[in-house]
Subunit: 149 residues, 2 copies
């Protein structure tokens, strides 16, 4: 499980880096699909990851407001602070937890859902990137030194 | 591992169904990002999955040509025939295999790569869908009855 989270966190940091080359207007521009803009999509993947993983840790569901994260720096800071909340749980994941119930779901299902959720939204960023005439961040999971994570 | 493959196969079949409501011209239309069209992107996810998973089974690398799969029916047939090749291996996956070497990669890394690869490209289809004014296939992994797969 951790290999996918490591992948998502690496790729997310690379999109933050990629975003540094964008104007604030381009990052906020309304686009078709995803959460409607690059910044909102990045906030969304951070928010959904923290909401579910904190949920598995017994913390009541809470969501961040897009309107509070209107700059790249704020989104990156949010991502890093949320990662501090979720990373220990993810690193301590054990297959013995997978059938434990969380509401109508299993812990395993939730972990898989969170992983797929971010990869899916990152795929959307890649189309917008090409539409802007820019090369997107690589989506490859190989060549990232993750073999033994 | 199987939960993600089940997810990708379900979602892929739903995109085939979604594609039935598209004209052949829309399916083949050149678009920004991905493999440049809906049909080519669908062929690509099928092809990459079979190439890697067959590779892990000792079969030399082989790729299908986009030009041979220019209709939805042909792509769906290709998907189903390739699935017959890969599904037994995926269902028999065991964590003991994950550190086995495949060229410069590990088996585990390849399995993760194949999963992330398809989810990423499906995210691209969802943007094109919105640009066409259509609701995309749901990317949710929850609510698919996969909890115990």
């Amino acid at each position: 499980m951790i290999m996918f989270f490591e992948y998502n966190w690496q790729v997310r940091e690379e999109w933050f880096k990629w975003s540094e080359e964008c104007s604030p207007e381009e990052l906020a521009r309304t686009r078709e699909g995803g959460l409607g803009s690059i910044l909102r999509t990045l906030v969304h993947v951070v928010d959904i990851e923290q909401a579910w993983i904190n949920g598995l840790q017994g913390i009541p569901e809470f969501h961040y407001n897009f309107e509070d994260y209107l700059t790249l720096d704020k989104v990156r800071d949010l991502s890093r602070s949320c990662r501090l909340e979720v990373e220990p749980f993810v690193r301590n994941w054990s297959e013995e937890l997978k059938d434990r119930k969380f509401d109508i779901f299993t812990f395993g299902e939730v972990m898989h859902h969170v992983i797929a959720h971010e990869i899916h939204h990152i795929g959307q960023l890649s189309v917008w990137s090409r539409e802007m005439g820019r090369k997107p961040v690589s989506a490859n999971l190989i060549f990232r030194g993750l073999a033994h994570s």
